[in-house]
Symmetry: C2
Subunit: 223 residues, 2 copies
């Protein structure tokens, strides 16, 4: 097995395991067993368990953030430099949810891994929060530009709520399914994204302000 194959095997195995269980609960022995490599390989390739987590987290968030950012820029081009609130939210919400609900198990695990890891308090993660922070600031800026007359406070709260719905849906979709007795369909990715975007939009734009323009029963709801 080549060096690259070994590294990749470790990364993907760790991702799958950390998608379901917390950092402390997954041991290096679990990881190497799942990866089909030996115990020493992790330290050889990554230095330590902490560094493995950090490298994996950076690797995945880089790809996700790039995807989000590409959609944001595409929306900016389309809107002539002023993308709509909806387009901005779609760029924020779409990628993580498409990953999470993807039939590709590795993709799906990546989404769950990231949300799980982002709340871990182990040292290596702390170093990375800045990265994510700057990423979110781009979206905050875009939203401020799209809503120049809106109180900034409302915009930050709206962004906060959008992130909340993304996280909860990625991590706790199982409970929703059970709670609804299977009624809530978690296979219809587009419907879920629309739901989150719709609610986040109301939080941002405000129901009162939106009311006059809100002839759009576009598809955010089923009834």
């Amino acid at each position: 097995m080549s060096s690259d194959q070994t590294k990749t095997a470790i990364l993907t195995a760790a991702e799958m395991l950390w998608a379901e269980r917390s950092f402390g609960e997954v041991t290096m022995r679990d990881i190497v067993a799942a990866a089909g490599v030996n115990l020493a390989a992790v330290n050889y390739h990554f230095g330590s368990k902490d560094e493995l987590l950090a490298e994996l987290f950076i690797s995945r968030t880089t790809v996700l953030n790039r995807e989000r950012f590409a959609e944001l820029k595409a929306a900016e081009l389309e809107g002539g430099g002023r993308p709509s609130v909806e387009a901005i939210l779609l760029a924020l919400v779409g990628p993580p949810l498409r990953w999470c609900l993807s039939p590709d198990l590795q993709r799906s695990a990546a989404a769950r891994f990231m949300t799980r890891a982002s709340v871990e308090t182990v040292p290596p993660i702390k170093k990375i929060v800045d990265r994510e922070f700057r990423h979110l600031q781009r979206f905050a800026t875009a939203l401020r530009l799209a809503l120049p007359h809106r109180d900034e406070v409302d915009i930050y709260w709206g962004l906060h709520f959008a992130l909340a719905m993304i996280r909860q849906t990625v991590t706790d979709s199982e409970r929703l399914k059970k709670l609804s007795g299977g009624l809530c369909d978690l296979n219809d990715t587009d419907d879920i994204i629309r739901r989150i975007v719709a609610v986040a939009k109301v939080a941002l734009v405000g129901s009162a302000t939106a009311a006059p323009i809100a002839v759009r029963a576009s598809g955010s709801r089923k009834s």
Copy 2:
């Protein structure tokens, strides 16, 4: 030190530590050091670290759920058996946020501990999810009764989103503060509760349906 004092000291110390760091990262040695008791006390009083977590979690959620339920029943009485959606949401959202933003550090820690613990995957927590599950079903039922003509799917999604906003606000208020450059005031508890309830309400009732009645610029926004 009496038996009760020791137990309480352990519980409160564990709560404070687990409010900030994950289960695996906090050792029993950390806990007993903070509690000012000796190591053997944990096993004597609780049996094991796992059981300590379980007992603490049950203890706190019992109190919180009772508070929520009391508000729900009060709303039912007031509304003649049919509480408004807003009243139901207030009963769901109010207690955890008042705890979290309370000046009482122990109360505040309790709120963060519960949200943190609820995503832990260690065995003892798994056993308790049923408790929480039934608790949420009460709210789902209340919401269904309050919105008889609404698609059930929308109701479950609305509840899901409400829980998402509660969790994110309890755990990630610090990031929101930084992201907004200190603009978002996390001291105004009532304002925050109103914001979450307002957004959850729109998610449940639907913006189009709400629009005509939504003359209420009551206080959900600042602008």
